[in-house]
């Protein structure tokens, strides 16, 4: 393939992946999926009933892998067996995945809240009505973008894996990234804005999540409003960078032209990783200097 063409396709893939990452994280903030949900689940037991949507269908990676696999399978079947156009097939695949996601969201909220009856946690029907369509919307965007990435990889970049499997793998990856990056902003900051900024969650504060909003009582949509300012976009950048950089090294040094180019692509990847290690070290040093230690140094003092 022409290098310029490859780079163009890669740019579209990177852009789609960025959107997928951001919407994946915001979906998990609206519905409180993944690890920070442990606090939402714990709150009523500590006498803090709340109006925050409580679902953890599964960890984010399996959940998004399921969306990707369902969407990818429907897309494949519609394209290959019924000869539909790509755009329609991907839209239909993402729609089916979003509908299944909505079913799981509803049952997860009902089940989790009902199991907390003894802690006087109510089931809010208006929360289901307002939150589930939002989560389905985000799930649709995530699945659609992952399917676009997977389709372009199979059809244009000639990746050997079948489309549903690629969508499954990218679903795992986007979930792993969302759960590792954006969710920390929700779990460590948004849920605990009532404690002083600039520290991890003291175990003594577990379950004491913020329940009042800027106006009224806080719900999942309030949380996504806050996380959309930082957690969501950086998750998008992370997934976009992963998809883009892992493809970029072979787009620039095309291994099909020879083994040398293949090894150059490996070296380019290693240099990127090295640069990221150095960058992390620089941020670490800057953070240590800016924030300073929490305790006095007993040895030197």
């Amino acid at each position: 393939m022409e290098p310029l063409m490859g780079m163009g396709v890669l740019a579209i893939i990177g852009a789609a992946a960025t959107i997928a990452g951001a919407s994946e994280d915001l979906e998990s903030d609206v519905g409180s999926q993944s690890n920070p949900n442990s606090q939402v689940q714990l709150a009523p037991q500590m006498n803090y009933p709340h109006r925050i949507f409580n679902k953890a269908i599964s960890g984010e990676p399996p959940s998004n892998a399921m969306l990707g696999a369902v969407g990818g399978t429907v897309t494949s079947v519609l394209m290959n067996a019924y000869g539909l156009s790509v755009v329609f097939a991907i839209a239909a695949g993402a729609l089916v995945a979003a509908l299944i996601h909505g079913t799981y969201c509803t049952s997860a909220y009902m089940g989790r809240s009902a199991s907390q009856k003894r802690f006087r946690q109510p089931i809010y029907l208006d929360i289901i009505r307002s939150h589930v369509p939002v989560m389905m919307g985000f799930a649709y965007i995530t699945t659609f973008c992952i399917l676009v990435v997977s389709y372009l990889m199979t059809a244009v970049l000639a990746h050997p894996f079948p489309l549903p499997l690629l969508a499954f793998i990218w679903g795992i990856t986007v979930g792993a990234i969302g759960s590792s990056t954006g969710d920390v902003h929700y779990g460590a900051e948004r849920e605990f804005q009532n404690v002083e900024f600039g520290s991890g969650l003291n175990a003594a504060n577990s379950g004491n999540i913020v329940r009042k909003a800027e106006s009224g009582l806080r719900n999942g949509i309030d949380n996504s409003w806050f996380c959309a300012k930082f957690g969501g976009p950086v998750t998008g950048i992370a997934f976009g960078m992963t998809v883009f950089l892992s493809g970029w090294i072979t787009a620039v040094f095309d291994p099909s032209t020879g083994t040398t180019a293949g090894w150059l692509s490996v070296i380019a990847g290693a240099i990127i990783v090295l640069a990221l290690i150095i960058w992390n070290r620089r941020i670490e040093v800057a953070a240590r200097n800016t924030y300073g230690p929490y305790k006095e140094d007993e040895v030197e003092a």
């Binding site: 079948p162 979930g175 969710d183 520290s199 969650l201 175990a203 670490e284 230690p293």
Partner: protein, 239 residues
Amino acid sequence: MIDIAGILIDNILFVALITLGGVLISWSVHFVPVGGAPAAMAQATGIGTGTVQLAAGAGLTGLVTAGAMINVTDSLPLILASGAVGAMIMISVTMIVGTWVYTYGVGVPPASAKVDYDPITKDRQDIYVSQGTEGHGLPTVSFVSGVIGGGLGGIGGAMVYYSLVNITTGLSATNLMGLASIFAVGIFFVNAVIPSYNIGGTIEGFHDPKFKRWPKAVITSFIVTFMCSIVGVIAIGGL
């Protein structure tokens, strides 16, 4: 009737390579600094997600890059290297963005609670751990450990896929790749789950005392992957 013994003897090298790949994956997971749910609340050092999830995310990204490489070259070292690089890119991007969130979003410096001094940078750690937590963020030693873990996992995944896709079979190329990739993902997950019993939710990297438990997981993975590889080789080779 499928000639089971014949298929196994023909592909005995691939059985060995798949087993080796599985063992590598299992070992690699111990390097990945995961803090589980506590890390998502900046309550433990490491990445705020589960062991299996992150290892699988990185390793499968490596599988995607190795799968693309296998299409254009026969060189095993190159395929393994590309798997390693794909996984290393995924995990280091995830960790650097995690560092952004911990530093700028939560306002905590990276700090380990398991060691007083970072073995790589020699920086004091314990006084940078905020009260009531088991550390937070990704100090340099955890970052480097994560990169090593991602790389080993990528090599393991790529080795499993390379072996499966080269088994002598009557399948067409498209079907073989589909089947081999699904088996590879399955074997990856099996070996990503086994070490999580050692890790028990959180591990900071190779400097963590829990890291020393890896031989148990590796022996278990050896047995389990050996059985998986026999099933995989017979299933693909018999078609």
